[in-house]
């Protein structure tokens, strides 16, 4: 994470053209990358914040897929992250290829609930997952605001296309140290 500021790979590229007739992949695969030298820590593994950086880049690819880009944000609205829940399974080393998937779990007029997986680009082994809740905000007012109809139509189309996907095992789970000999809680 070394730059003048954090820049996503798609920054400045605008949104993708929306074709209402095109089939929507389930899950979406919009972003691939390679673990960069500046993402790894002293023991040669990708640092946890850089996992989140890559999940953010994948989310940015999704926003552009449904129409949220620089122009959209300049017009006064944006999606802000309210919660992120990361699960780490495996480490990633410099130079390893990463493939990202994205599943839209749910949305309403103001909120978007996403689930992402980071897979090793060659083996397909699951490295990490991210579950995120985002809120659509009026950036000047600093308050949540309904999304416009065309954006909601696109989200609905993606949600419908993803409705048949199994509910991810790790989504919606509170965190805790689970012990077999005790019920919930410590």
């Amino acid at each position: 994470m070394s730059a003048d500021r954090v820049v996503t790979p798609l920054e400045g590229t605008g949104h993708r053209p929306w074709d209402p007739e095109a089939p929507i992949p389930a899950p979406l695969r919009l972003h691939d990358c390679t673990v960069a030298p500046e993402w790894v820590d002293y023991n040669g593994h990708m640092s946890e914040s850089c996992f989140l950086l890559v999940f953010g880049n994948n989310a940015d690819a999704f926003f552009r897929f449904v129409g949220i880009d620089e122009d959209y944000r300049a017009a006064g609205h944006s999606l802000y992250t309210s919660e992120t829940h990361l699960h780490h399974r495996r480490e990633a080393a410099e130079g390893e290829p990463l493939t990202m998937t994205l599943q839209l779990l749910d949305h309403d007029a103001r909120r978007v609930h996403l689930y992402q997986e980071m897979l090793h680009g060659d083996s397909g082994v699951l490295l990490a997952t991210a579950e995120q809740l985002l809120v659509h905000v009026d950036t000047a007012a600093g308050r949540s605001a309904d999304m416009p109809a065309d954006l909601l139509d696109r989200l609905r189309a993606v949600r419908d296309a993803h409705a048949a996907l199994p509910r991810p095992e790790r989504a919606g789970r509170p965190m805790g140290i689970r012990r077999p000999d005790r019920p919930r809680g410590e």
Binding site: R5, V6, E48, G56, T84, L86, T139, G172, I177
Partner: protein, 156 residues
């Protein structure tokens, strides 16, 4: 020995640098995690379970879960402090709750994290040696009176 460990543990203090910002001049999602992780790392260092422990013992805490709740925006130059509580622990695991706060006390973000103690050679979860675990137990005891952190919810 409990008085050795302030409740909560709070040594981390940082000023938001330019490179933590995103396109709109606010702190990027991933930069909150940089700060939260550094704050937890400060506790691990205080427990002698940081980079030196890794070199000496060949084991370290590996993050398996991190749940961040974003509460307020941060801008370049903002001063942030962090408070970390040990919520639960055993010789193989530690669960922390961390609050990242603005200078004026406003909550910027909270993080719940779960780490496993992993032997780097075998890549497996391993129990920490009793003498290394003892300080963890001390902090756990020192933090027991803090109660359950407010944003930790069982429902969603």
């Amino acid at each position: 020995m409990a008085e050795r460990w302030p409740a909560p543990f709070s040594t981390y203090r940082t000023r938001v640098p330019e490179e933590w910002l995103d396109y709109n001049g606010h702190m990027h999602d991933a930069s909150y995690l940089v700060a939260l992780s550094e704050a937890n790392e400060a506790l691990f260092d205080a427990l002698d379970l940081g980079a030196g422990y890794y070199r000496e013992v060949g084991a370290s805490y590996f993050t398996v879960e991190y749940h961040i709740r974003y509460q307020a925006e941060c801008s370049s130059g903002d001063v942030l402090t962090a408070e970390t509580r040990v919520v639960a622990a055993d010789p193989k695991r530690i669960r922390l709750y961390t609050e990242l706060k603005h200078d004026d006390g406003r909550l910027a973000a909270s993080g719940e994290s779960l780490y496993l103690h992993v032997d780097r050679q075998s890549g497996r979860v391993a129990a920490m040696a009793p003498d290394r675990y003892r300080p963890v137990q001390e902090v756990l005891s020192a933090h027991a009176g803090l109660g359950r952190p407010r944003p930790v919810r069982e429902d969603r």
